[in-house]
Symmetry: C2
Subunit: 242 residues, 2 copies
């Protein structure tokens, strides 16, 4: 399984992805689910993926091969982030159409993506691409999108995130959302890839790979766990009336 | 959807269930998912259910009709909680076998149960019955079982619950687990039914129906939300190194 999270803020974007992939009971591997396309000065494009690893890796490789070719699926030739979301969706659709009949006897070929980034002259934007190739976009009222094992990490996001949250607080919240998921589900695991993008910076951004022995990760995990326990203990018990 | 939670403690049992049921887009109703069988002095038997409401209500009704009859599915004639779990599983299995071919064209007939209680001379016990009729039992190392919309409410349980937690703290934690689920998922809603059972008390227990305007529920929701936000704000931001 996988957990990937994208947050759209007024100030920019925060992305987080875990690194656990498992294909059957005996294959557990670490693969980064975050692909960053940053070699052009006029744009930053990030993909995160969940689902069938063969499908999503093929899509990322096909998109990588097309860069700079001027072909219809060249993300460096696209004018808008919407057009890039459409390229990712179309590539995913074509890949699944090509593979489905061979893969389905063994399992689902489905995959999904989060696409985030900015092209000079446009807004920073965030999309979620479904396995069918269609997609939705994050908005002011729906400022975060998740794929993979999404539910464990949603409550903390629902409590904290809105579009006006600053980038560093959103990074902190993304880590806590990952931590909740990692604690509750064995199939999601560090290293966590965390990306912080300030709108307008285009090819410049912060990226951090957070391993399970990362000092900041350990300290925030511990402080949050202890703080939550103290908070819990201070809350009143229910009163049974009689 | 539904969310039901059972917690097995050294001191007793805590059960919580929401009341939202929806069958299709235009039917949303409130139904308690907690059935309490308490008319015998030597035992307390509680059922909570999730899944197809027609299936689970029929199972509960069949079990209710059989009480005191001495038939094989008479829960008042059973010697152990294990035997009661088996009765519930067998009844569920028979009900699904009876209904499946008529119901499946419209949706899944599946359902699941949490069975909890104590019979004089035995321990208090907690079981989860799958739709196939087989079941698992809570243990010292797995002290809580959930059915329905389980994931949003699991992180807080993972942090707080172990077998040595006292009954009132477990009630508090059950309410916070429900609250997290209600905040993140529209298909789970109050009133919450909360049951607190101290081992050895048999037919005596505390039961509370917590509506969304319940003063305790509102106060604990608010105090937890505010405390969590304060805790979040005090945690350090990630350091990007350069």
């Amino acid at each position: 399984m996988t957990y990937c999270l994208g947050i759209l803020l007024k100030d920019g974007l925060v992305l987080a992805a875990d690194s656990r992939t498992n294909a059957g009971v005996d294959q557990i591997a670490l693969v980064s689910k975050l692909n960053i396309f940053d070699s052009q000065k006029d744009r930053l494009i990030c993909l995160m993926s969940a689902g069938n690893l063969a499908t999503t890796q093929s899509v990322a490789a096909l998109l990588d091969q097309a860069l700079g070719t001027g072909e219809p699926n060249d993300m460096y030739a696209a004018d808008t982030m919407f057009d890039i979301a459409r390229i990712v969706g179309d590539t995913l659709r074509a890949e699944i159409a090509r593979e489905a009949k061979y893969v389905e006897p063994f399992g689902s070929p489905d995959g999904s993506f989060i696409v985030a980034g900015q092209i000079e002259g446009g807004q920073h934007r965030l999309f979620q691409i479904y396995s069918a190739g269609n997609f939705i976009e994050a908005t002011r009222d729906t400022p975060f999108l998740q794929i993979g094992e999404t539910k464990y990490g949603k409550p903390i996001l629902d409590r904290i995130i809105n579009q006006d949250v600053d980038l560093d607080s959103a990074c902190k919240c993304a880590i806590l959302s990952m931590d909740a998921t990692i604690r509750s589900n064995l199939s999601v695991a560090p290293p966590i890839h965390l990306l912080r993008y300030k709108s307008g910076n285009l090819s410049t951004y912060n990226h951090r790979r957070i391993a399970d022995d990362d000092a900041y990760f350990l300290s925030i995990r511990k402080a949050y766990a202890q703080g939550l326990r103290r908070l819990f203990n201070r809350l009143p018990n229910p009163d049974w009336g009689k």
